[in-house]
Subunit: 379 residues, 2 copies
């Protein structure tokens, strides 16, 4: 067992069962946990100004180092003073390494033990990334939380493929750890293990032994049944230290987030709230509202009567529906703001409930309302 | 000569040659003149929140009654409390009647002396609009400045076609005037006359005789040479009363706006600043900046070093270029804000110069800088 890579940056204020709340100290401020991180793949949370993102109640974003290295290039961002200054965001930034993109790439032949070759979707050029490169790129971008380069596998991969990719993830994690420049940046390990409980447990133990500043559960929520996802996450969490933040990559719906919080997960990211927004779908405590539906043509109510986000404060469902029908960009903006606010409010309520020891009641109420079992009278 | 339709809402504070500055009182506040009106065809200035539009220094918008009548429909907006409330804009709104769309429609057969039949580009349905309908639609939307239904002709139309359309415009103007409900809304007439100086003069005299609250010059800036445009506008202006605002429809560039102000025009609208923004082109005092140009890849300067708009205050040309390359919506937003601010600042400088009696100096300086004859040192 290696020594801890750094003094822990996590401060736990309260626990309620396995759920916990607290703060994670970063070079760009404290992050309230549990936290939902909106995704700004290309150094922009789609359609939103950074001040709008902050006003949603968000203190940390995710950007994708792989995409940014391809375009505009690390040099451009470095010369502009780093990612925070480049994109005008003064809060914390977690960068994904690009490992996830290996699932979607055409041939596994592009990965070997030394590293991965990414083919640019923009111009077909090739970018060779070793674990050391992945860390250097993220450090040069100025990321507050750097993610290791990992090798996840797709749902349905065979055992041999999974074993090779998971072992590679562990070897890369060590190399990432050795390459980490420190200097106030946090480095998170990523656990893999495919879709086998025992492999998930072993992977988490191997990553935990490297004493990263935080640990992520990667390669899940990629198509496996929800029950499997929960069992596999639980297997990983059983091996992860309680004094480091736990991050479930690529999640999710209200119910999924609360399920994972109940297991002790602290951080989440997902493109769904902004992607849904662009398709005209708003998240509400009573489920999704699809603004394309003619029902809303004359609906002068806000998306959510209990929400005070800039969309709900001024605009009706009728107007938002009109904007979608007219393909006006303001539609994407307003519903993106609402959807991110919705998840930020859910995390805020979660933190308060954990502090008060009422998290399971909150979870039950949220799930009940989503399933239509509980009807809350408006205002 | 008929009586004035209402007490004049125009207050002239200063004149400088034929240029003048003052205010136009509307049911939604005073509009500073000369004014540039951003276009919100579908009840949204493309990509912008109404508060952002106001922060650009704008107190009046243009919306298109024809488009809104087709989608979402007048009833929807009426039931939502009117156009101001529907779109969350508390400033003045001028609505265009749809006359301009007659230029772009397929067959002139769709127009007769009674009115026009518009074919919906959305679902092919037909909307019959008489002059009386045009007024009623705009009144129901809650427009502050209602435009008469007119019949402009395209550049290159023959004399006979032009004469018929212009005479129809005059007859329709009378019917619009008779149909005007008053009640605090202003009604503007539209002069036509095609591309003949004498016909322009006669049309303006006919429209002026109807004593509208303001008078527009329509059917220009549709492809005719700049010199012709100026001569024809001058012919119309010679017949328009000085105690009513003059509005040149569908203009324009910095130089065109100042040329028209020098002839005594008070109001302008144009889709160009927001359309250019969506294509990655920013307006600056030194000319247009096309952010697609690789020159800006590493350019950490703002679009315009003398501009304090939200785009210039925080973001570099390098970031804006990156956003365009990555097809991020924030690019459209930020450059739209900048371009509208650019024109609002030009109008602000114009008003100040007229008050100080230095308008021709301002015009010379603006044109000189645009043509690269004058180089202003930054800061």
């Amino acid at each position: 067992m290696l020594e801890a890579a750094s003094v822990t940056s996590l401060s736990i204020d309260a626990v309620d069962g396995a759920a916990r709340t607290g703060t994670l100290a970063t070079a760009h401020g404290a992050v309230q946990l549990p936290a939902f991180m909106p995704v700004g793949t290309h150094a922009s949370v789609k359609a939103l100004h950074p001040d709008e993102v902050a006003a949603c109640g968000v203190d940390i974003l995710l950007c994708n180092a792989y995409h940014l290295a391809l375009r505009p290039g690390v040099e451009v961002i470095e010369r502009a003073g780093g990612l925070h200054r480049f994109m005008g965001w003064d809060g914390a930034i977690l960068t994904d390494s690009g490992g996830y993109q290996l699932i979607t790439l055409a041939g596994a032949a592009l990965v070997d033990d030394d590293g991965a070759v990414f083919v640019s979707p923009y111009d077909g050029s090739r970018l060779r990334v070793t674990p050391e490169d992945a860390i250097a790129i993220q450090a040069r971008l100025g990321s507050d939380i750097i993610m290791c380069l990992d090798h996840p596998v797709g749902w349905g991969s065979d055992a041999a493929t999974t074993a090779v990719a998971t072992e590679r993830t562990h070897l890369w994690a060590e190399r990432c750890r050795d390459a980490h420049p420190g200097d106030g940046r946090l480095l998170f390990g990523i656990t893999q293990g495919g879709f086998d409980e025992q492999a998930r447990r072993e992977s988490a133990a191997r990553i935990a032994a490297l004493a990263f500043d935080g640990n992520a559960i990667g390669g899940l929520s990629v198509g496996e049944p929800l029950d499997d996802m929960i069992t596999l996450a639980e297997a990983a969490i059983s091996q992860l230290p309680a004094d480091r933040p736990r991050y479930f990559m690529g999640l999710g719906t209200d119910a999924e987030l609360l399920a994972m919080v109940s297991l002790g997960v602290d951080m989440f990211d997902c493109v769904v709230p902004t992607r849904l927004a662009r398709n005209g779908t708003a998240l509400t405590p009573d489920g999704r509202v699809s603004l394309r539906n003619a029902t809303y043509r004359d609906d002068v109510r806000p998306l959510d009567e209990d929400c005070s986000c800039p969309a709900c404060a001024r605009f009706s469902r009728a107007y938002l529906r009109h904007l979608f029908q007219a393909q006006e960009i303001l539609a994407h903006r307003l519903v993106s703001i609402h959807n991110i606010t919705h998840l930020a409010r859910l995390m805020d309520a979660t933190r308060a409930a954990i502090r008060e020891g009422t998290f399971s009641l909150l979870r039950e109420a949220v799930e009940g309302r989503l399933e239509g079992r509980v009807s809350l009278a408006p205002g």
